[in-house]
Amino acid sequence: MASMLQPQIILLKEGTDTSQGKAQLVSNINACTAVADVVRTTLGPRGMDKLIHDDKGNVTISNDGATIMKLLDIVHPAAKILVDIAKSQDSEVGDGTTTVVLLAGEFLKEAKPFVEDGVHPQNLIRSYRTACNLAIVKIKELAVSIEGKSLEEKKSLLAKCAATTLSSKLIGGEKEFFASMVVDAVIAIGSEDRLNMIGIKKVPGGNMRDSFLVNGVAFKKTFSYAGFEQQPKKFTNPRILLLNIELELKSEKENAEIRLSDPSQYQSIVDAEWNIIYDKLDKCVKSGAKVVLSRLAIGDLATQYFADRDIFCAGRVAEEDLNRVAAATGGTIQTSVNNIIDEVLGTCEVFEEKQVGNERFNIFSGCPSGRTATIVLRGGADQFIEEAERSLHDAIMIVRRALKNSTVVAGGGAIDMEISRYLRQHARTIAGKSQLFINSYAKALEVIPRQLCDNAGFDATDVLNKLRHKHALPSGEGAPYGVDINTGGIADSFANFVWEPSVVKINAINAATEAACLILSVDETVKNPKSESAQGEAAASAMGGRGRGGGFPGRGRGMRRR
């Protein structure tokens, strides 16, 4: 009785929502599973796309896990972790974003019955971590190195990796075409870690086969003034001058004012101004350059001046394009036209203005340093090109990764099955609870081949049993077997060139395990009322639901402190 008189201690602000305990853990797991379900169907070559339409009317059609997760605009705190791992996979290796979300979801799903049965989450976490380490060691063991091969061989091996990534995308029908394009582009930029040296330009119209790779730089024709059409549009071995100044008749200083007391001096001021610009133009011409590009405007006067002297010019070139031109042609961007020496001029084999679809493009090809590449993408619709760009980005990342780490594993769920088998085998040697947990981890890994089958409309159980059988063969010859997407059976993925760089798998398993462990270690959520206010109504209705379901007061779910 006395306790009732005790004043209630208010710890948190009014309206703070806290939920705690095991039930909260289960609820978090459910939320993550729900999110994983959204991207589930995008996995693999028969994966489907999502059309996401946001409030502003922007529409994205995508198959890329990271893109979808980003656009879903998830607010659930636990589920947000999945978005983060998808993003980190995207920035780290570029591909496998769907895989990582799916794996994390599946790890959690497998953990759920244990949590409900009262296993301490930390036990689970410890076992998962062990399993993860074992899996990674195993992957490294199984990985096949492509190091030490000749460039030609390497190229075809890399193309196979790229093709595997592209097969699940919209441009999958032309995967060989794009794979070789991507490999050429990545090899062109060399080992330097400058991804921005690969430009991707999008031109609506045409079909995807019309896409092409420029060994150099290409950009859209810039805004031009009268006189532009009179300039020559094709040069061989031109010298290229890159500028970062305006070539326009303008006041030299913003706030300067000239005061004249003698009207006859008027002309001299006018002449002086003209002389400044003519002087600049003259220096450009004298440098011997045949192509003049500037990041800032090149005015009509300059355009006509250059046209008179058979020089091509383009003003307002985007900075990244100009940087790429500089890198490709070996030129240096100048901020002054004084002292232009030969060394700062770039050159290339052919410069040409060409019609691509409805646009005219300036194309520099055959550049000496060859450290840049531009992919011009064509396609029937804007969304199509956007998605193609994302897919190519994935493929480029994969090829770069494979080039650096040079080890590949068999795709098509083969590696997942093999690790799963290995872990199961290992689990049997452990005494204690951990055996069960590692076993369930192993089971969770099977989700990849299972989902591949589901998406393709095959009987997953059937295929999975065949795979398990094959992988269990004591000789170990079954290790590279994965799902055969064409016949609905199983096939040797390695022999069929379904390859993934091992780093993708390692990173995916690592990130997914981390995320799962993180979510498992949370047992209380404290939500501040302020951050909630934006969707107060939604929260209120959810709480109402909680009230109705309040048959489990002892479990502490949804306790509210006021």
């Binding site: 489907m48 529409v59 879903l72 659930h76 119209g205 059409e229 004249l260």
Partner: protein, 535 residues
């Protein structure tokens, strides 16, 4: 959008503003998408072919457009549905790339979607359908290569080009005088074409229109027309062997760009300033006269004083000519654009055989014709017609014809029109289908059916019995092994398209098939649509 419930039936709030979003997934999403795509195709279906009908579209501002051009119709319809927008873009990209066949590509995509729906109902996986379509499109494109014919033409032998342009124009409202228009288009393209590089810059062809007169008065001007008149009414209306100074500087005292101020404190100073100003005008005009110019074309205006002076010195002038026109004039006359009077030299003057001002009918509208230019690389097509809508539609039709001519210069292969190419492809695809094991076979066969439906639409629009006509033509093609039989839309009496001279460009047709397949694949691949519910 109910994303998830836990085991007690309570919803999770996972996505922001979850209740306000709708989500369609699985087969439902595919069905909804397909029906949206089909709806768009249905609208355009009746516009196909020479007997196709036009659509009248009213914009929110009340502007009325009457057109038969697929890309224009879709553009003006302002569709809201996302899938329908994809179809609009499909048509637009055909327009960008080829310029013609914008209706056909949408009808084709619609037919493919219709076939896909049937296959989906049979339980075939959408991606397998899409893959089957891709295989089929490859077969069709190869087959087109196979039946295509090379067309030889030269600057003197333009007949083949004219015939092909006529096929394009025959489906438009202007088909009444398709022959002269086709000739105009071909001549225009040939005069700007770079036959060696196979490059045609359509920017060099200006298409102008003015209400009045009749369609037959449409003409090709080897030179430029400018919708301006002489700056002074008493200047000569006709100049022969004109030497043109093309200026981008105004006839007024030059102003420094830097802020400036002239202090005038005595009467003498004012006088000098005044004199100097007058001297400027005098010098400028004199400068033009000195280099031998007989006509001045200026991008900017000039004040009355200069105008008077020009008149006085007998130097005709045109003012306020736009930058683009100025450039075209420079290209056509071989002159250089001069930014400053000091730079004027006799070499920089453009030359034109005849410059004349022409007035139309009873109106006061006047236009300046610059003809017989030194370099005829810039030409103008000048369209006359009864009303504005007619002129706009003629412009679009001419654009199509220009594109067709350009495509032929790039690649001189043609296929026969009138649905014959589609029927022939359909036969080839159908035959190839049996060679494919697996579910794709069905999709390939469906592709063949979709190809047929383009020809069916053509026959329907021409008032023929669609099924009967198609089957007759098909059997005829197979029997005589001749891919030139098509649908006799105009009731000429023969359905050999070669005799009827109905041609289409090979790249146009291939592009249609590839683009349609691509977009259909994109639509089929979507199984989840998440959108704010007020859409």
């Amino acid at each position: 959008m109910a994303l998830a419930f836990d085991e007690y039936g309570r919803p999770f709030i996972i996505v922001k503003e979850q209740e306000q979003k709708t989500r369609l997934r699985g087969i439902e999403a595919q069905k909804a998408n397909i029906s949206a795509g089909k709806a768009v195709a249905r609208i355009l279906r009746t516009s196909l072919g020479p007997k196709g009908m036009d659509k009248m579209l009213q914009s929110p501002d009340g502007d009325v457009t009457i057109t038969n051009d697929g890309a224009t119709i879709l553009e003006q319809m302002d569709v809201d549905n996302q899938i329908a927008k994809l179809m609009v873009e499909l048509s637009r990209s055909q327009d960008y790339e080829i310029g013609d066949g914008t209706t056909g590509v949408v009808v084709m995509a619609g037919a493919l979607l219709e076939q896909a729906e049937r296959l989906l109902e049979r339980g075939i996986h959408p991606i397998r359908i899409a893959e089957g379509y891709e295989m089929a499109s490859r077969i069709a494109v190869e087959h087109l290569d196979h039946i295509a014919q090379k067309f030889d033409f030269g600057p003197t032998n333009i007949e083949p080009l004219v015939q092909t342009c006529m096929t394009t124009l025959s489906s438009k409202i202007v088909n009444r005088c398709k022959r002269p228009l086709a000739e105009i288009a071909v001549k225009a393209v040939l005069s700007v074409a770079d036959l060696e590089r196979k490059d045609v810059n359509l920017d060099l062809i200006k298409v102008e229109g003015k209400v009045g007169g009749k369609l037959e008065d449409t003409e090709l001007v080897y030179g430029i027309t400018v919708d301006k008149d002489m700056s002074h009414p008493q200047m000569p209306k006709k100049i022969e062997d004109a030497k043109i100074a093309i200026l981008t500087c105004p006839f007024e005292p030059p102003k420094p760009k830097t802020k400036h101020k002239v202090d005038i404190d005595t009467v003498e100073k004012f006088q000098t300033l005044r004199q100097q100003e007058q001297k400027y005008f005098d010098d400028m005009v004199q400068k033009c006269k000195d280099v031998g110019a007989t006509l001045v074309i200026c991008q900017w205006g000039f004040d009355d004083e200069a105008n008077h002076l020009l008149m006085h010195r007998n130097l005709p002038a045109v003012r306020w000519v736009g930058g683009v026109e100025l450039e075209l004039i420079a290209i056509a006359t071989g002159g250089r654009i001069v930014p400053r009077f000091q730079e004027l030299t006799p070499e920089k003057l453009g030359r034109a055989g005849l410059v004349r001002e022409k007035s139309f009918g009873t109106t006061k509208d006047k236009m300046l014709y610059i003809e017989h230019c030194a370099n005829s690389r810039a030409v103008t097509i000048f369209i006359r017609g009864g009303n504005k809508m007619m002129i706009e539609e003629t412009k679009r039709s001419i654009h199509d014809a220009l594109c067709v001519a350009r495509n032929l210069i790039r690649n001189n292969s043609i296929v026969y029109g009138g649905g014959s190419a589609e029927i022939s492809c359909s036969i080839a695809v159908e035959a190839a289908a049996d060679k494919y094991p697996g579910v794709e076979q069905y999709a390939i066969r469906a592709f063949a059916d979709a190809l047929d439906s383009v020809s069916i639409a053509l026959a329907e629009n021409s008032g023929l019995q669609p099924i009967e006509t198609l089957s007759a033509v098909k059997s005829q093609q197979i029997k005589e092994n001749n891919p030139h039989f098509g649908i006799d839309c105009n009731d000429v009496g023969t359905n050999d398209m070669r005799e009827q001279n109905v041609f289409e460009t090979l790249i146009g047709k291939q592009q249609q098939i590839l683009l349609a397949t691509q977009v259909v694949k994109m639509i089929l691949k979507i199984d989840d649509v998440i959108s704010p519910s007020d859409y």
